[in-house]
Symmetry: C2
Subunit: 209 residues, 2 copies
Amino acid sequence: MPRDASKTKNRILDAAQTEILGKGFAQTSVDDIQQAAEISRGTFFYHFPTKDDLARALIERYAEADHALVEGFRERAERLATDPLQQALIFVALHEDLLEDVSPEEAGCLFASFSYEAGVLDPETEALIVGSIDHWRRVLGGKLAEAMERHPPVVPDADPHLLADMAYGILQGAFILRRSLDDPRLMARHIREFRRYLELLFGVVEATP
Amino acid sequence: MPRDASKTKNRILDAAQTEILGKGFAQTSVDDIQQAAEISRGTFFYHFPTKDDLARALIERYAEADHALVEGFRERAERLATDPLQQALIFVALHEDLLEDVSPEEAGCLFASFSYEAGVLDPETEALIVGSIDHWRRVLGGKLAEAMERHPPVVPDADPHLLADMAYGILQGAFILRRSLDDPRLMARHIREFRRYLELLFGVVEATP
DNA sequence: GATACTAAACTGACTGGTCAGTCTAAAAAC
DNA sequence: GTTTTTAGACTGACCAGTCAGTTTAGTATC
């Protein structure tokens, strides 16, 4: 009996996401989203009782996709190598591949966008973001911790989880830089540079002084 | 009541900055700012014809302060050491000191905040942000380039400007993480980790495999 | 007498949100 | 196999509130 509701709902979410990544949540009106999604104003509120509900749905979808992506990367890394250090390096390299050639519009993390607009989200959704970021950090941090057990780093007191945080930061910074800089490849190179650090830290590349 | 206009103007700017860093520009109303600054509505518009003018003034002030800070750090680094590598390391370490014990409210960069709210600023102000970010990158990148001439890095094709970008990212990422994480010292440790990378890259610390 | 401010009322555009009603497609009744 | 029913999907005009910005009339300070 019904028309395909989920299709429309996803169109709304898609439109909202690009709009919000560009302008921020508060500055994106329901009208903006409605026009971008090419649906009527009423349809928007049919699917999302309030604008805040949209925000929550967006974050939930984003968090799910993020989780799937990270787990996918982890699995691929574990399939491609048995050594945890190699797995960590592959995990990072997969991010590199993903971020080759990102347009300025695509460049951006919904989590970061909302983190600069505090107070919009209810505590549970806020917690979802924190959990999602944490998941990423734990996966990479965990692999690095395993790696350190087998391959002692060339400096004594290296902290695997601090390294993961650093990588997270490089990712976020790259998003911001991508918006003002022209080079579409820069993001991947930033991550590449981090990978090089790991290689150096674990003595994968020979130091040639 | 008082006659000192610049004092009031600065109070408005101060209030606006903390408010905007917390909630974002669009979500911060003139009333919010006016109440936080404890001035009347009329006074706000006496000093800033439009809300956008406030945004511009804020960015200009922030960019100036940023410039002064970076140049100050550069000068101190150049005073404390003659070797460009040591200067670069000190330059980074000074950031570390600055970011010891940052509260979640303070954690944030106005440039990043506005970068996720595109369309608010006029092109000139936008350019000011880009220029400001670029200045930071050029100072660190330049020092690292000098350093590489004197001290060849242990890996062959290290790019000093890419390294500076990475550092910028770590800084930005640390701001975002600081908002959801409890540890006030984390930011400094993130930067410290980057410094360690530089030391490793330039062979300042001995690799002990 | 000019500058710096206050207090409050006001305007108009725009915002999130509502609602009475229309459309669509499939199931039920004949 | 045509007609009727039904319920979810969708529409767009409309409402009430909020926002940036204006105006006005007045006070305090130098």
